[in-house]
Symmetry: C2
Subunit: 357 residues, 2 copies
Amino acid sequence: MPYAVIMAGGRGERFWPRSRMSRPKQFLNLIGDKTMLQLTVERVEKLVGIDNTYIVAGSDFKSIISEQVPHLPGENIIIEPFGRDTAAAIGLAALTLEQKNPREVMIVLPADHFIGNIPRFHEVLRSAAAAAGKNNCIVTLGITPHSPETGYGYIQRGDLLDHYGGTPVFRVIRFLEKPDYKRALEFLNSGDYLWNSGMFIWRTDLILKMIEKHAPLLDKGLKEIGQYLGSGQYDDMLEKVYNGLPKISVDYGILEKADSVLVLPCDFAWDDIGCWTAIGSYSDKDENGNVFMSEGVIMDTAGTYVFSRDKPVAVLGVADLIVVNESDSLMICHKSRAQEIKNVVRTLKDKGLEHLL
Amino acid sequence: MPYAVIMAGGRGERFWPRSRMSRPKQFLNLIGDKTMLQLTVERVEKLVGIDNTYIVAGSDFKSIISEQVPHLPGENIIIEPFGRDTAAAIGLAALTLEQKNPREVMIVLPADHFIGNIPRFHEVLRSAAAAAGKNNCIVTLGITPHSPETGYGYIQRGDLLDHYGGTPVFRVIRFLEKPDYKRALEFLNSGDYLWNSGMFIWRTDLILKMIEKHAPLLDKGLKEIGQYLGSGQYDDMLEKVYNGLPKISVDYGILEKADSVLVLPCDFAWDDIGCWTAIGSYSDKDENGNVFMSEGVIMDTAGTYVFSRDKPVAVLGVADLIVVNESDSLMICHKSRAQEIKNVVRTLKDKGLEHLL
């Protein structure tokens, strides 16, 4: 049975004021009652079981993870003492899993994405795990684009390699950074480009070999840490070595450099829920397209998202707003500017209002 | 020295959520630090002295008035046991003042208006008091219109009667109800029409005579109450009789029926502050026309009014909004819809949220 490694170390600002430094997006119930992390665990444990489900995150998130996923074995929380980007976090998880079964496949996936069709998601992951095990290759999931999105990286697919469980598996020609609109439109029209979902599947020993080959400094540090795995000195050594690891993303540091990468095109609904506007797409709306998560009244208003727990809200005669009322702060933003909430957060910081961040 | 009678019994809904049933507009610091009532008292006491300043309001407002105007003699608060519109309230005040000096002039003015040029306001009131004393006529203040306003009543002026203290005094041809836009534009262009400011000046005995002539039922009740003025039975009699008084406005019940009414055109800035959009006009604005009465940050935003006491607010990329955050409720409204906040209040009531009103 493959392992699933949920990457829960992210710290975004685009869901302020709900998201905070100490409670980022993955720990919020942005869609429905469950948090993004709870939804992610629920999805993967159905596939691999809770004992094979691991979560990587900073030490300050340990208690919130235990609280939100109380049935997860404590040793399945892999702690990064410092944030050193995805290559280091994945390497650390691979070290742990290699000790258990170096030839087993590990599925790496973010804690904060939306997945629409879960049975189809499971099918694709089973196919991906089979392809990764059989070919001992890096396997990625690519989302079939439905718009010229400029906020995602892209994967250009090449020849069809094979089918696994009915899912076609293609060779990857190359990874591409976020494009401008014109290129994104070309990508969409060509049909050969997929969104990079940030979900990766590979054998544990393979990713460690790839790190050895393409990121020697990271490899050196991980090997140092690996010597102490299971010993009483592990925590101290981890603390000592981890902060010196190079800060590189797995995409840039490993995937783009690897020779043989495969991709499975995915047709299930997927969204990385990058900002407040995405929430509306996956929430219940009234007949005017409003999501009103508050007591109160919304009149002559369209396309507006309102979230308030501590007091009723009355909205009259507006359109396309995001209104988020938290206990200590209130945010009102036009939908078209939702990506820029990080600027608001920076300005609040400059103004000495760090306690709100 | 004339008396000033400040009418503080109004209960509006258009400043919700700041205004409440128990704390209407006149008791709010909508412009600057002082409340509308405090500003009004300050203006009139400079003219007539605090001992000649009276406030008429419902009994439930007695304590808030004492709190906001602590130097006002307690007996200068004239209590209406029930709201019976302006003719009754003015009649009740006139009864009290007639006992002191029936030939003295009383100035009646609302508690919740904005006046721009106070020295000029005082000059005009002195002229009006002189005209009212000399001619024993009803005198009104008419505001020279600067826009085709459909929210005010109008006064059509006739011949010039005289000058008092340099201010011309005209005969009134008639009072007109709020016009539609086309008529309002005609009024503006003609130059003969003035906004009815709701400020009236007359001798105490005259207004009582006018009530006797034009509102006999009201006159009967007032005379009944008047018999007990100064006696121990006054409060009981007032309570008993007042609720039976006809509910009529002084404009409709008296002024429109009176034969001889005068008007002084006023050129000072005046506003009845009818809804949230008016507040912006008289508050300090940033370079984008925003009034930001809150901690926090306002970015790429124009023409927006933000009021929040209990938490910082972040506003990004919006225009022409009114945002009012109170401790128990939050209101967001487009400026063009500010007049309709009363509908919001009604809807909240229908939803059983009376505690917010």
